[in-house]
Subunit: 372 residues, 2 copies
């Protein structure tokens, strides 16, 4: 079951589009109204580069919602479930965004660029309208915009070597989610220690959309001695390491507490934020579902094409699979699921409805593989 | 340059997904986080069905943002540039949504289902967050949600025959954008006179996502005597007839006045709406750009893959092409563009940067083909 993706002006091309075509991109998705590469024709080689050497990913579709102006910090604090007053310029934080009912509507990284300027580096939902609607309704003195900023990810155990060769040894001292504004042969950028993998990694936030191929080629050249090659956010590595995929894992109505993200939400701090009241109530009552791992019996599965349903052994609905893949490092079928709380203990046996028929599965703890 | 589209759980399948696969869908896009068919392998046959007989389209990706509760009408009036107090239950209106700067952020159809319940039937941007953010900020007594509603479009000159066979002769009396709640063999739905083509057309808003194949098969069977076949929103027909494609024609910063949509915005009514102040200022100053048609010289073009830039004959930037296609009925290359106002008069000659090199073009009035 394969289909061509329509290439037209309604979806934007990334600044790295031409470079990824030259590198042999074969598969695409759409993310934040932009084409995003998902494969270069050899999935296992791309996976090996990510976990053994280093991979270069076009993640320009990770757009920035910029909030600038006198009321910027006040608005960010209304949205983010962390104490923003403790953030310094140059720091980033994982900042889950919830609506008034507690539903998780995006899981961005928040970057503090100045006391009056922030970016939410977003997953695939239009947070410009959430932030902009609230600012408009309250008449806040802020400008909400999408700047010309397009991330390029360098992920894998050799990523620090590539970045040190390009930028100098200071990159090794960057703490996770910390960033610094700099340039590379005149290409303006922000370098951050971040990325959507459990490997070592950096993201270069390109700040001039006309320089995409220039930047791609420079990183690729610097990476050659370290085994670099093209890749993309990797569904197997992210499942093994238990990284949240907003949209796949959260649809249609999940909250951060049942997703196991309570550590990133400060319900006990003084500042209020949208969703705090609903999440406090959910915490008191206990989440009705839980995010768990599953081992699914052989034979080897194709990666899941949608959220497969699950039943308990009596045939009652048990929840939905978020993602199921054959783990390359574990050599068995693994999955992440949102399961009704009474069925969420390790060892519980469930039945998964796959396109090739029902399969037995067993609940297990996450992650499947610890970062090492 | 063709790429596979990745099929995975992050993007939702439509209730008609299996039916379109059985009907031979070959091409897909993503729209409102959902797969949407864009081709069944024979573009010209699909076009001919649309303009000569009747076509069946999976447009489930046209999602509904439901606003329900005591403050629903008040909230809708804050957003929509029409006088909502004049709408009756069962009526629809084209209701352009602008942000505080006047930028067009979506161009939905607004349906009034009850005095305290409305749907925005949206184009491809997450208006749930715009509407929900404003409601949250103001503490309005409304619920903003996405109901289980998935449109199926029946478009083409024979569409009224198919719909009358299925539902009865009353469908012929429906005014444009009017709708009625009904059912078909127990399948709950709303039937509306609407659709994204300049042909006669209806949309069935399926209200039970488990019944997609049932509904698709019933419409297909009823349509066989009238020449029905599968199709999708058609880039050539929409360009010939000058239908706006939000995203393609509007990115990144266009306002409704420069897009030629002033007739749908009532800047002189009493109620305020978000964007009114900015648009009033733009009207007073005159829009800096205008939406125009272009004839582009032979040979026959491939449909545009992105927003091609244009220059005037002195080499100065003139604007961007929204869409360029070979017109099947006119047998020449046509395009829609957003052009700097001094260059927008019919007869002005411009140069378009296509992937195969520069082409001469001439500005002309829209639409290329009047509905007949």
């Amino acid at each position: 079951m394969t289909f061509r993706i329509t290439i037209g002006p309604r979806i934007r091309k990334s600044p790295y589009f031409d470079a990824t075509v030259a590198a042999g991109v074969s598969d695409m998705t759409v993310y934040n109204h932009m084409y995003m590469p998902t494969g270069f024709g050899d999935f296992e080689a791309e996976y090996r580069r990510l976990v053994e050497t280093v991979a270069l990913w076009d993640v320009a579709a990770e757009r920035q919602v910029q909030i600038a102006g006198p009321d910027a910090a006040r608005l960010v604090q209304m949205l983010a479930p962390r104490d923003i007053s403790k953030m310094k310029v140059g720091q980033g934080r994982y900042a889950l965004l919830s609506d008034v009912t507690g539903k998780l509507i995006n899981d961005p990284v928040l970057l503090k660029l100045a006391d009056d300027r922030f970016w939410f580096s977003i997953a695939d939902s239009d947070m410009e309208y959430w932030v902009g609607g609230i600012a408009a309704a309250l008449g806040l003195d802020v400008e909400v915009s999408e700047p010309d900023v397009s991330p390029l990810a360098i992920q894998g155990p050799n990523a620090p070597l590539v970045m040190a060769d390009l930028f100098g040894d200071w990159v090794r001292e960057l703490k996770y989610f910390a960033f610094r504004e700099t340039e590379l042969d005149g290409i303006p950028l922000i370098l951050a220690r971040s990325g959507w993998s459990k490997q070592a990694g950096f993201e270069i936030y390109l700040m001039d959309g006309t320089r995409g191929t220039d930047l791609w080629d420079r990183v690729m050249s610097a990476g050659l001695p370290h085994g670099i090659g093209p890749g993309s956010p990797n569904v197997v590595e992210r499942t093994e390491g238990d990284l949240l995929s907003w949209g796949a894992d959260t649809r249609p109505d999940a909250n951060a507490l049942e997703l196991g993200l309570g550590a990133f939400i400060n319900l006990d701090m003084a500042p209020d934020f949208i969703g705090k009241e609903a999440l406090t109530k959910i915490r008191a009552e206990g989440p009705k579902r839980r995010r768990v791992g599953l081992f699914i019996e052989p034979p080897t599965l194709e990666p899941s094409d949608h959220n497969w349903p699950m039943q308990d052994l009596d045939g009652n609905a048990a929840g939905l699979i978020s993602v199921a893949v054959p783990s390359i490092r574990l050599q068995r079928n693994i999955a992440i699921a949102l399961v009704n709380t009474p069925l969420a203990d390790a060892g519980t046996r469930l039945v998964v409805e796959t396109p090739s028929g029902p399969r037995q599965a067993e609940v297990t703890a996450l992650p499947f593989i610890q970062p090492g």
